[in-house]
């Protein structure tokens, strides 16, 4: 556990001593602010529904920038050799790094809370729906991070890591749309089950389904387990 904490602290220092965290956060906040204002003024309805969906797409495109350096950076900086020879178990490295990335996600998500100020001042939003929307957003973000972190472990090149992660996350986001073109109920079910956006949609509507929560946690669990086994296999 000591190892997880040490890795986590190192990760946080690295995030804030390089421009990428600031860049991702500002793009995300400016984007969210714009969508928020646009949605409020164009519909005249004081909810976060549409804004959450926009935040989802933004997230899917920005996450690869957060995760691409996680392992690729260690390979090219030759520091993986250090991590693999220090008294650290592979899972400690994986979890420490993941918690660091999740902290960035948490920070950028909480910063969007500023949009809630005018919403509560001038409107009458449903607190429970907003909370469940945020919860869904964080869960989906955590699933995206785990996938991005796994792909970062597979390549030395950060750009390649981002280029693989982006289409895969987009596929998980859009796969629900394929339902419309399928006649077989099994495929429709599968596509619906794998869709990040459909599960997220439930949260946005204020629907807390165990199945959706379990789905995101399962994605995190599978990706991090694969990540750990890959590091072990690489020895």
């Amino acid at each position: 556990m000591n190892g997880v904490l040490a890795i986590y602290r190192k990760e946080m220092i690295q995030y804030f001593r390089s421009p990428i965290a600031y860049f991702v956060m500002s793009v995300f906040l400016v984007g969210t602010g714009y969508f928020f204002l646009y949605n409020i003024f164009s519909t005249g309805v004081g909810t976060m529904d549409e804004t959450f969906r926009n935040m989802g797409v933004l997230l899917v495109t920005l996450i690869p920038l957060v995760t691409m350096r996680l392992f690729s950076g260690e390979y090219t900086g030759r520091t993986m050799e250090l991590l693999m020879t220090l008294p650290l178990k592979p899972w400690e490295i994986v979890v420490g790094k993941y918690l660091g990335a999740a902290t960035i996600l948490l920070l950028m998500t909480s910063a969007t809370g500023i949009n809630l100020v005018p919403l509560y001042l001038f409107g009458n939003p449903e607190t429970k729906t907003i909370l469940s929307g945020y919860m869904g957003f964080l869960l989906m973000g955590m699933a995206c991070l785990a996938i991005g972190q796994f792909f970062s472990a597979l390549t030395h090149n950060q750009i390649v890591a981002a280029l693989i992660t982006t289409p895969i996350l987009l596929a998980f986001w859009f796969i629900g749309h394929l339902q419309a073109y399928q006649s077989s109920p099994e495929l429709r079910g599968l596509f619906g089950y794998l869709s990040f956006s459909l599960h997220f949609g439930d949260f946005i509507r204020g629907l807390l389904r165990t199945e959706a929560v379990a789905f995101y946690f399962a994605v995190v669990g599978i990706a991090l387990t694969l990540n750990t086994s890959y590091l072990q296999w690489r020895r």
């Binding site: 602290r9 520091t79 993986m80 050799e81 250090l82």
Partner: protein, 317 residues
Amino acid sequence: MIKLESVSKRYGSRTIIHDISFSVAKGEIVGFLGPNGAGKTTTMRMIAGSTTPTSGRITVAGFDMGTQNQQAAKRLGYLPENPPLYDVLDVSTYLRFVAKVKGVTGAAMRAELERVISACRLEAVVAREIYKLSKGYRQRVGLAQALLGKPDVLLLDEPTAGLDPGQIQETREVIRAFGEHGAVLLSTHILPEVTLICQRVAIINGGRLLAIDSPAGLQQASQQTNNVLIEVSAEAEPLRQELLAVEGVSDVKVVSIGDGFVRAECQVDAQAGVEARIARVIATRWSLHRLERQQSTLENVFLRYVNQSAQQQKEAA
């Protein structure tokens, strides 16, 4: 402290390391010599646990690297060929991170950091970001990292590469001081370094361990076919014939060096008196200007072993 028992490493069908066995005792510095691509770094990486051998067993400080590598890692300091540094961190943050992972806790942390910082003379750069450091400082931060947590075993892959002569001297002192109570395996290209600080030398080429002995022992072993160098004013061919007839001379190479002088390199066997016989033979016909028995340097020893193994491999193929 370090023990390798018939360790081999294969990548696919290619065998990188062939059945290597040796050990390094406590209080001993062993030099690891070999040309580039001989398998030094791979062997080091296997001992450090960043890659696993295909077969064989490695133990570090009594712990099996296959099953107890966590315990072993706590007792091991490793400086890879390229110092593993995080460029955006400053030196003290970086060292603190490594120390923490190695289990140095709160109260002991400060003293431990000060110890390695002064041992590696890093006082001037503790607050500087690593990407701003010169190559010499980077190498020393790498060494400081390896010394953290008072390991029993130190693995150093070319620790003096990129240092200036003064820094090399200081680094050697650090290694020597550590070697008084710990075990050190150090790979290097610099042959005099081995004679200076190592008690034993392991020579490796093509993934095979060719010899392991003290520097003096290796030199002695290779003295059996020593060289005698002479300079004479003479004709090349008649001189060669005369020299070959001398008892104890097995081969002669003659080259002209101008002004009617020739230089002859005679391969002789170890028995005494060969020089005297050569001198007598020459004195009967020519005038002798120089006669010298060449001591085999570690360099010659190294090259001999490496060339021999290259030849054997060619013959085998």
